[in-house]
Symmetry: C2
Subunit: 471 residues, 2 copies
């Protein structure tokens, strides 16, 4: 009799597979307030590594971290018209504090453009104060009616960057720099993710932005997920908050701004892009644990060898965990590491000791073979880099095989409904076609130029719309 | 004519000096909702370094980070009687979400014992799941009627550790381990802070704890500040949440717990313990910028030398910033770095170049002298370690000189009112004496044993009460 699968197979029920995996790999739990989540240590470990890698890239741009308040006076929200319209339905409102009803209710930040602009308007006086480049790592709350762990949660964690520049060009270039050299670089080189870089249509733009750049990934079921966005805000918020500077020429000018964000949603994307029917597969460059060294039995010689091997692999620069919990059956532990997607398992038992070998199981390509213990420190770093490359290649191949070039709206709708992406000339689709897609649960994920680059304008000739169903 | 001082002198008005410093060193601003704060990049940089150092020490204990929701159903709060009584007056309550009134209001977490215990009760099944060691870095909200930046704010940032153990002894030892090897080690060795480790009296204990361990520091005005606390929770929360485990002997047992926290208040303590009339003095091991290399003039040769010197000092392992903003007057920049408390300024001008020297200004001992440029990389690491030691020594000397051993309550009250600490036998003071202190705005900061160690019980013979006014 075949063993019952650990997870619902993806082909049977993709959403259920996702929930099973999140649960069994101990990534997260539902919180008690609807739509909130508890990020468990293994899931949070992924987020910590994402933060480290992103934070280094963000600082590389000259951006500094700061922290702005969680609670925002309700009146602030109304200062930028599009912005308030976009966020009003999602707000959590604090009406009581310290045992009393508040004179003015406060909203829990859904994003921080308003409050940050209030301070930018105080801090920016002259052209010498520009560019002002600020990022914050924080939690935000957006009331969510159809929550799904990591993908849509009432509270999530993110980084939000906010910058002010002297000219339109500088702001535009900075938003593009973040898009390409922070987000895309991180996602491709650390998360091993295949992402399409493009520009949102007016309909899909951030509330208050004049341009939104996006990164879209194809999940295992062919649906799209927005992985991060970088916005040009023009002077919309500057006008609302009077954020001005004295130019070199002695004139008061409004600043030009950007904002950009990426969230714990990336953990959900990681699951859905790289996961398989046995669990998660964590890209080695991200993994907090790249190699787990397991003692098969609680025999003293085995335990000593396992610890020694762990130390040697750590000394070789790998991130290693030793699993000597021999009071838990070996098979259960192996399945658990498989679920958690640790790239390499080194399994050591009494027989291996005699041979001077260990069984090495590689989670990403799959397969298991004996390797001389002395050779591990030299072999594994290369194996991990191969695995990193393989994940990216598999993701690219999936998108290539599931994307079709189409020339009619009907074909685009059909492709999206069938679990794929369609590329259709934007000139053919247009805003009317976009409205039609919405009736079929599909949308324009982004516009890309003919040569695959990010277009400078919505209506640039040759623009192609990437159409899909999306999370 | 003497120049106007940059800050209100401490001797004139200590609270105003503190506000001036926070403002002029650009550490923080008041937020728009009363009692909230904006942590500016320089202030946040201090917090980031604190987080790095603390996080490494926390992980060293085997504790893992996780993240629990900000919003907690109001009903949770009522599950532990002392706890709800302690926190009820400080709560911020969300009554509306997504445009509707909520069926059950949610409170913004003031601390997370309740919600974390709810999950501990699900995650802990058997003795194999123990100890469960969790920490989270998060924001919390406690409505504050008399706010002061960093010291008492409606929202603050902190880490909160929560652990569950199989036995009373294990939990007790873990709380003590955090107190000594995480908090005290960090504060003494990184923050260069003089802290007294002791035990809170029943009156000053955390709401819901059976024992609270504290670290108390003496500020520049002789008042005390609680720097961090580590609590034994006994089985109070375990009972409320039915957090049980199956013992090796096959019996259901309640777990024993600890919780422990330290906050952005440490930034305020840093200011008040090490600051002087010229600004902050940042301990070198904490400083994000240990050395700033300044170009006095915008001369090409000077700029080249400044950058080269910066690179060489970075290569020597120092954290260095280059200040080549020669469009800002040199004097203003020097005062600014002085205010921000960067330990070493290396100032390079055209005349220095000729001599192959730079002026080296040391913020912590004070003073300025020419040093050969070639010698900097060898000299500065030692100088910084000396400065680190000096800060701790100065703090220790202040406490020693302002602490008196007294034998009556009147003397204790008098010492506290005069800006000092009093040590009085707990047997003499007792709970009645403690109530009397409260009438004179003083309190027992902690109990210490005769030999200076942390007492195992409130009424251990020889216990000494440390009495002071406190922030």
């Amino acid at each position: 009799m075949a063993k019952a699968p650990v997870l619902t197979p993806r082909a049977d029920d993709f959403p259920r597979w996702y929930q099973d995996l999140i649960n069994k790999a101990e990534l997260a739990d539902n919180g008690p307030v609807r739509g909130t989540m508890v990020i468990r240590p293994y899931g949070y470990g992924l987020w910590e590594r994402m933060q480290q890698e992103m934070d280094a890239r963000i600082k590389e741009t000259g951006t500094q971290n700061a922290y702005f308040p969680l609670l925002i006076p309700q009146s602030y929200l109304t200062k930028e018209a599009d912005h308030v319209e976009g966020f009003a339905p999602e707000l959590a409102v604090v009406t009581h504090g310290g045992g009393k009803e508040l004179e003015e209710p406060a909203v829990v930040r859904p994003t921080s453009e308003m409050i940050i602009n209030d301070y930018f308007s105080k801090w920016v006086q002259s052209y010498r104060d520009l560019p002002l480049l600020i990022n914050q790592w924080a939690n935000v709350v957006r009331w969510e009616l159809r929550p799904r762990l990591f993908l849509r949660t009432t509270e999530f964690l993110w980084q939000e960057g906010h910058t002010a520049h002297a000219t339109y060009e500088e702001a535009r270039d900075f938003a593009a720099h973040i898009h390409r050299h922070v987000y895309a670089d991180f996602m491709e080189n650390v998360l091993a993710m295949d992402v399409v870089l493009g520009r949102k249509t007016a309909k899909e733009r951030f509330a208050g932005a004049v341009n939104t750049l996006t990164l879209e990934g194809m999940m295992g079921d062919g649906k799209a997920l927005q992985m991060g966005t970088s916005h040009e805000l023009g002077q919309n918020f500057a006008r609302a908050f009077h954020t001005q500077y004295l130019s070199k020429e002695g004139k008061q000018e409004l600043v030009w701004q950007t904002s950009w964000g990426s969230t714990t949603r990336m953990i959900g994307a990681l699951v859905m892009m790289h996961g398989d029917d046995n669990g998660l597969r964590v890209p080695p460059r991200l993994a907090q644990t790249q190699v787990v060294v397991l003692a098969i039995k609680g025999d003293e010689a085995v335990l000593a060898k396992v610890r020694e091997t762990g130390d040697r692999l750590k000394a070789a620069g790998l991130r290693v965990q030793v699993d000597d919990r021999t009071d838990v059956p070996f098979g259960r532990r192996a399945v658990d590491w498989e679920l958690k997607g640790v790239p390499v398992r080194v399994e050591v038992g009494p027989r291996d000791l005699e041979n001077g070998t260990a069984m090495v199981a590689r989670r990403i390509p799959g397969g298991k073979e004996p390797v001389a213990l002395d050779a591990l420190a030299a072999l594994l770093p290369t194996a991990l880099e191969e695995d990193q490359a393989l994940l990216l290649r598999q993701a690219r191949e999936r998108r290539a095989s599931r994307t079709s070039d189409v020339s009619t709206i009907e074909e685009a709708v059909e492709a999206a409904a069938g679990g794929g992406w369609a590329r259709i000339p934007w000139a053919t689709l247009g805003e009317r076609g976009e409205a039609e897609l919405a009736e079929h649960a599909a949308s324009v994920r982004c516009l890309v130029a003919e040569d695959g680059s990010v277009p400078g304008a919505d209506d640039a000739p040759g623009n192609v719309a990437v159409v899909a169903r999306a999370y």
